[in-house]
Amino acid sequence: MSVRFILLWLAVGIPLFWGVWETVQNAMKLFH
């Protein structure tokens, strides 16, 4: 697995993970 492969997927994966995490935290309000 090349460095470029890892870097590219991290570059798009980190912001996406952050967005999903923020949304999940927000969504939890429904069950509180």
């Binding site: 090349s2 470029r4 492969f5 590219l8 997927w9 570059a11 798009v12 912001p15 996406l16 952050w18 967005g19 999903v20 923020e22 949304t23 999940v24 927000n26 969504a27 939890m28 309000k29 429904l30 069950f31 509180h32």
Partner: protein, 454 residues
């Protein structure tokens, strides 16, 4: 000698790892998907003069709401207009132009905020940004379809999932930036627009850098290639040009399929927050309803990847059959689920509806590829997206009008959703019929000359 942005510079060498291409598509779609989070600017834009409250001379919510509608309408129109150009110049140049339009759209909007010019806001985010959306939406999809002829649903699902995910990033990002830039004399919208314009332009350069097209005649290795040799119903090996495709009944049937699926989905998205509060009167707070909307965006995003990948195994027509068939049952059931003590069945039903809304967007490029071949799939997809523009503007107005009409005529708010949902069932039935009527394109429409571009 071709420049860095030219199509010729993006042709991949033999043995290129095709899984290096999806991040390029995701980078562009994660950025332009911010459009779904534009509503986070709605309230701050109504307080540009008053800062903490709307002062005389401040824009009202309805006026600002048009910015999003213009952006979605321009998305559809620009995708239709520039589809052929995107196919010709390749993904790198088109992604760069998309980044330029989308980034500049924010900057022009910031100038509009500074001068308090609504025309500049409409032109910046709506028209210029909308062009960035249209070009940026079709370019990665067309590229991925060519790289994954064996799994087109999964590939386009991945990219279009990014569009759904863009809202999940865009909403907290804009809120965080506005908080950071807010001062006693500014609510931080101007600075946020400038910052987001720069951030998104730079982020989309990942796509520009990583975009590659396969060499002419490239096929995936081994078992995957053998799978492609198996004839499958409603999957053609021929190509149909965009000029011919849009004159076939198949194009307009798929236009109807997308338009009905999107209109029905928008009918739920637009009303999700008040709907859960009014159906479960007093049992769901406004804060919990915000959480519900967040949960729906997760279903919307996940559905894009899961349903589109599922379509690779069961076929596109069967997948849309599930969307419309199951959709009719769920839309019919939703108003009645409010009578139950638990919110969970209601949340699940609406979540599945939203997953199928996203799935409809993500599966349509692979459906087009099955029916019209890969040659002009980006351009054909671009023209089909006019269905989205129509659904986004007219569909939303229709839903709002039906609801307002009923409330004016004395129907209680909680019950006003029942008729709206039944009308959505009718729309889904039209979509179901369009989908069932799909047949392969007649051979006389097939492109005869050899395919020059991959």
């Amino acid at each position: 000698m071709p420049s860095f942005l030219d199509r010729e510079s993006t042709v991949a060498p033999p043995g290129y790892n095709r899984f290096l291409v999806p991040p390029a598509a995701l980078a562009v779609h994660l950025a332009i998907g911010q459009v779904y989070a534009f509503s986070t600017f709605n309230l701050p834009l109504t307080k540009l003069i008053g800062i903490t409250h709307s002062a005389p001379g401040d824009w009202d919510l309805k006026t600002i709401g048009w910015t999003f509608s213009i952006a979605i309408a321009v998305l559809g129109v620009s995708a239709a207009l520039f589809g052929r150009w995107v196919e010709r110049v390749g993904p790198r140049k088109s992604m760069f132009v998309s980044a330029l339009c989308f980034g500049l759209g924010f900057i022009v909007s910031a100038i509009g905020v500074h001068l308090h010019s609504l025309a500049l806001l409409y032109f910046g985010y709506g028209a210029l940004g909308g062009c960035g959306l249209g070009i940026g939406y079709i370019s990665p999809v067309s590229t991925l379809i060519k790289w994954f002829p064996d799994r087109p649903g999964m590939a386009t699902g991945m990219a279009i999932m990014g569009f759904g995910g863009g809202a999940l990033i865009g909403a907290p990002l804009s809120v965080t930036l506005m908080k950071h830039f807010a001062t006693p004399t500014s609510n931080g919208v101007l600075e946020t627009f400038v910052t987001m314009g720069v951030i998104y332009f730079l982020f989309m350069q990942i796509g520009v850098y990583a975009a590659r097209v396969p060499a002419p005649g490239w096929r995936p290795d081994g078992a995957r290639a053998r799978e492609l040799e198996q004839p499958r119903p409603l999957v053609t090996r021929a190509n149909v040009t965009v000029e011919v495709a849009w004159r076939t009944p198949q194009f307009w049937l798929l236009w109807g399929v997308l338009c009905m699926n999107v209109t029905a989905g928008i009918g739920v998205i637009g009303q999700a927050s008040p709907m859960i509060q009014e159906i479960f009167n007093g049992r769901v707070s406004a804060d919990a309803a915000t959480g519900f909307v967040g949960l729906l965006s997760l279903f919307n995003m996940g559905g894009r990847f899961i349903w589109a990948s599922f379509s690779d195994y069961v076929g596109r027509r069967n997948t849309y059959f599930v969307f419309f068939g199951l959709g009719i049952l769920l839309y019919f059931a939703v108003p009645h689920l409010g009578h139950l003590n638990s919110t969970i069945p209601f949340v699940l039903a609406v979540g599945i509806i939203l997953s199928m809304y996203g799935g409809g967007f993500a599966t349509i490029p692979a459906y087009l590829r099955d029916v019209f071949g890969t040659m002009h799939v980006g351009a054909i997809h671009g023209r089909l997206l006019t269905a989205w523009a129509v659904a986004g503007v007219l569909g939303l107005q229709l839903v709002n009008y039906i609801r307002a009409y009923q409330i004016e005529h004395g129907v209680p708010k909680a019950q006003a959703y029942t008729v709206t949902m039944y009308i959505m069932c009718g729309l889904l039935l039209v979509g179901l019929i369009c989908n069932l009527a799909m047949r392969p394109v007649e051979e006389r429409h097939h492109h005869r000359e050899p395919v020059l571009s991959s």
